[in-house]
């Protein structure tokens, strides 16, 4: 269970995240929505500790992760995988090596530096790629892949960390509708299949409504909505998005979920 208690992030005089308290049980698929600049990314990055909260407490299964350092911090990051909007792969390394980055916290430091990956690490990485239907791309350089393929490589990297929670920061904002659907389906699959908690920042309301068990709305750093997707009426969305509302409420090119999966929620 992930618990955020009064989490605040101050940048100079601006409050990017303002006393957010939130409890997320294991296995939930939670969408964080809100207009750009609402503090969604900052919130997610604080959970992975890429940014430190100015105030408040974040804990996972009762243990505080806000003040972790060194080895313990790296272990926490191993358990809470991060997926980025721009994928954040190492373009010049091949796909397999990129996925194996997710094994770094498990591997022996010096062997990893020499790229002497164990047979099991390679097997896990290849199986993850196969799970995402991109195993044949393993020897290619990551930068030669399309956006959708790169994001799936990033998901593999997250998976092989053997995480307990997956944070995804606008994972489909740079992708076309078809790739968006493939990536969101993949996240949905790992949530159901492996029982991983997924916390995903989304700009598009339709994707959020389609895939998430629960929606959390942010505006100007504050938590302003927390309920099941059905409770998010157009009126609430208009409050949340202001002038951008018409843009995010457009439904024509919204991706449909993989058949047979949407009902299991």
């Amino acid at each position: 269970m992930l618990v955020l208690d009064g989490v605040t992030k101050q940048f100079g005089r601006a409050r990017a995240v303002d006393t957010v308290s939130l409890t997320i049980p294991r296995g939930q698929f939670v969408g964080v929505i809100g207009r750009s600049g609402a503090g969604k990314s900052t919130l997610l990055r604080m959970i992975n500790r890429l940014g430190d909260p100015s105030a408040g407490r974040i804990s996972w299964d009762g243990s505080d992760v806000t003040a972790l350092k060194g080895r313990a911090l790296r272990d926490w990051r191993r358990r809470c995988a991060m997926i980025f909007q721009q994928f954040n792969l190492v373009g010049r390394l091949d796909v397999l090596d990129n996925v194996l980055m997710g094994r770094l916290a498990h591997a022996d430091g010096w062997r990893a530096m020499a790229k002497l990956w164990s047979r099991d690490d390679r097997a896990i990485a290849m199986a993850a790629l196969a799970q995402m239907d991109i195993a044949p791309l393993a020897p290619q350089r990551a930068e030669t892949l399309s956006g959708g393929q790169q994001q799936r490589v990033a998901i593999c990297r997250a998976l092989v960390q053997e995480p307990e929670i997956v944070l995804a920061d606008e994972p489909v904002a740079s992708l076309d509708p078809r790739s968006s659907r493939i990536v969101m389906d993949a996240l949905s699959r790992i949530n159901r299949h492996f029982g991983l908690t997924v916390l995903v920042n989304l700009h598009s309301l339709d994707i959020a409504r389609t895939y998430c068990d629960r929606l959390v709305g942010m505006a100007a750093g504050k938590l302003v909505f927390d309920d099941v997707p059905a409770a998010l009426t157009d009126g609430v969305a208009r409050d949340l998005y202001g002038l951008e509302a018409n843009e995010v409420l457009e439904r024509d090119d919204a991706p449909a979920p993989e058949s047979g999966l949407a009902v299991t929620a």
């Binding site: 099991d120 097997a123 199986a127």
Partner: protein, 288 residues
């Protein structure tokens, strides 16, 4: 798909044998590339050791030399110009060195603009012309500033003018090369955008390429100005004017306190230029 959460590691490992059979090459460490890397590092080390042996390198010489160096450093303290008149003389020479660096760098920058464009393959498509310009630039660039100084001293006589010419000669070719590479690496899409709006070839270069390469060139020129302040000191030694002449003279007559004072003057100057050019560079490139 099962309803109960599956153990990730176990699920993936279960497919290990299948994966190994399907993609055997992904399970082998690439020993050929690895052996190549190790061989290359070993070879380089061997050459280095052989070189030391050939140059009669001996640890004892270094060791005894270190004591001598410590002696000299001791003699350098405290740095002092000797007399007030000397100080003014040195200050004047330092100003001369700075002018050599500034004029040389500026002349090189201006001269390099047309050559940079001519040497860029996406501007001048003619293969023969391209190779010809590139090779001439390479030739000019391969001659060091010091050699240029010796040549120009014989042409225009001793003094700062020869120094400025020397810096301009060697640097203009370097800038032209840097610039042509920046032009070739420039994003093609803005050029297409200008051309598609009805712009001519020259306007496409002016508005599509120049805004992209200008910050790169400007930051290079600023960096070179700093580096050329040091170069201008060195060419002063061979008679191209400036503070270098005083420096070599001070060392020759074993005036160590004056030597250290002169070194300090150059050091402070370079540090000031470095700080200024850093700010200028930031202003030109613009903060993101």
């Amino acid at each position: 798909m099962s309803d109960a959460p599956a153990d990730l590691r176990a699920a993936f490992l279960a497919r290990g044998a299948e994966m190994e059979a399907a993609y055997p090459q992904m399970f082998r460490a690439d020993w050929r590339t690895r052996a190549g890397t190790i061989g290359l590092i070993g070879g380089a080390l061997l050459v280095y050791v052989l070189g030391l042996y050939d140059l009669e390198f001996s640890p004892s010489v270094i060791f005894h030399g270190m004591w001598r160096l410590a002696d000299i450093v001791g003699l350098m303290l405290p740095p002092s110009p000797g007399t007030w008149d000397r100080f003014l003389l040195y200050l004047d020479a330092l100003g001369q060195t700075l002018s050599i660096a500034l004029l040389g760098t500026l002349a090189a920058a201006l001269l390099s603009v047309p050559f940079g464009f001519l040497a860029a393959r996406n501007v001048v498509a003619n293969g023969i012309l391209h190779v010809l310009i590139r090779r001439s630039l390479d030739t000019i660039r391969s001659i060091d500033t010091l050699i240029w100084a010796l040549i120009w001293i014989n042409v225009v006589g001793l003094g700062p003018f020869a120094g400025a010419l020397a810096i301009a000669s060697s640097d203009f070719a370097a800038y032209a090369k840097l610039m042509s590479e920046a032009i070739e690496a420039a994003d093609r899409r803005p050029v297409e955008g200008v051309a598609a709006s009805g712009g001519g070839r020259l306007t496409a270069i002016r508005f599509g390429i120049v805004p992209q390469v200008l910050p790169i060139l400007a930051s290079q020129v600023l960096y070179y100005f700093e580096s050329n302040t040091r170069s201008a000191t060195i060419i002063g030694v061979v008679g191209a004017g400036g503070i270098g002449l005083h420096l070599s003279e001070a060392i020759r007559v074993l005036e160590w306190q004056e030597t250290s004072f002169l070194i300090l003057m150059v050091l402070v100057t370079v540090a000031i230029i470095d700080a200024l050019s850093g700010r200028l560079r930031g202003a030109i490139i613009g903060r993101r």
